[in-house]
């Protein structure tokens, strides 16, 4: 690991956190490529990304609770229901060749890029620019 890859990891880490806070995501979409850049395999990067997501979403949740936006009961139902899906998703990912998962992840990056732009454009008329 060179100094420049560590700097890249830190920068992508902060960027992932900002993305997470702004859009209510975990930041994995940036963690996974950052970890691949650090030399991890695709599946290893995905498992490690899930762990990196924890401090990220805990910080975001703590802030959002102070702002009064959090609906804890809804979150718990959603989170507990997701556990069943997690086992299915991990089985699928580890059953496929790593190169296939990596290509699908690249497609996900493009899809999310388009989706974020669409979401922002959709809400523009409802939230006029603050001074």
């Amino acid at each position: 690991m060179t100094a420049s890859t560590i700097v890249l990891a830190l920068v992508l880490g902060v960027a992932a956190g900002v993305l997470a806070g702004l859009f209510g995501v975990g930041g994995g979409i940036l963690f996974v490529p950052a970890l691949v850049a650090l030399g991890l395999g695709q599946i290893e990067a995905q498992g490690t990304s899930l762990l990196a997501i924890l401090p990220t979403v805990l910080a975001g949740t703590w802030n959002q609770r102070r702002y009064g936006n959090l609906r804890p009961r809804t979150a718990v139902v959603l989170g507990v229901a997701s556990i069943a899906g997690v086992e299915i998703g991990a089985r699928l990912a580890t059953a496929l060749p790593e190169a296939t998962v990596r290509r699908l992840f690249a497609l996900l990056l493009f899809a999310v890029a388009v989706h974020l732009v669409w979401r922002t454009r959709r809400q523009e008329p409802r939230y006029p620019e603050s001074p």
């Binding site: 830190l10 880490g13 902060v14 960027a15 956190g17 900002v18 806070g21 702004l22 859009f23 209510g24 995501v25 994995g28 979409i29 940036l30 963690f31 950052a34 970890l35 691949v36 991890l40 290893e44 990067a45 995905q46 498992g47 490690t48 990304s49 899930l50 762990l51 990196a52 924890l54 979403v57 805990l58 910080a59 949740t61 959002q64 609770r65 702002y67 959090l70 609906r71 809804t74 979150a75 718990v76 959603l78 989170g79 229901a81 997701s82 556990i83 899906g85 997690v86 998703g89 991990a90 699928l92 290509r103 690249a106 996900l108 990056l109 493009f110 890029a113 732009v117 922002t120 603050s130």
Partner: protein, 114 residues
């Protein structure tokens, strides 16, 4: 029932890609469960804490979790998340969004090429 279905979809998506699943959960919370935008993003973050914990257990069981690397990107991200969720309360995020869209596209091209 709707929430359970959203959770299941987000869970499969999360573990398949090693992400939180918020990118599918937030739009579904807005469009299907009827939450306002900010409540949806806040609630998604807390739900992801549960989803990602389950994901870590499943991946760690297969020996695919690197603690040091997770800290290297995850701890700066916690600081980033504090900033991001604070900015969300007062700014319109369009400029940042376009920046992120470009960043994600560049990383997508790089992953395909590598």
């Amino acid at each position: 029932m709707r929430l359970v279905a959203i959770g299941l979809v987000a869970g499969v998506f999360s573990a398949f890609f090693g992400v939180g699943g918020g990118i599918v959960a937030v739009p579904l919370l807005i469009l299907v469960a009827g939450l306002p935008e900010r409540a949806a993003t806040a609630t998604s973050l807390m739900a992801i804490a549960i989803t990602a914990t389950a994901g870590v257990v499943v991946y760690a069981y297969r020996g695919e979790v690197e603690l040091g690397y997770a800290a290297l990107v995850g701890l700066p991200a916690a600081a980033g998340a504090l900033a991001g969720s604070a900015w969300q309360q007062r700014i319109r995020a369009s400029t940042l969004t376009y920046g992120f869209a470009v960043l994600l596209s560049v990383l997508g091209v790089w992953l395909l090429a590598s």
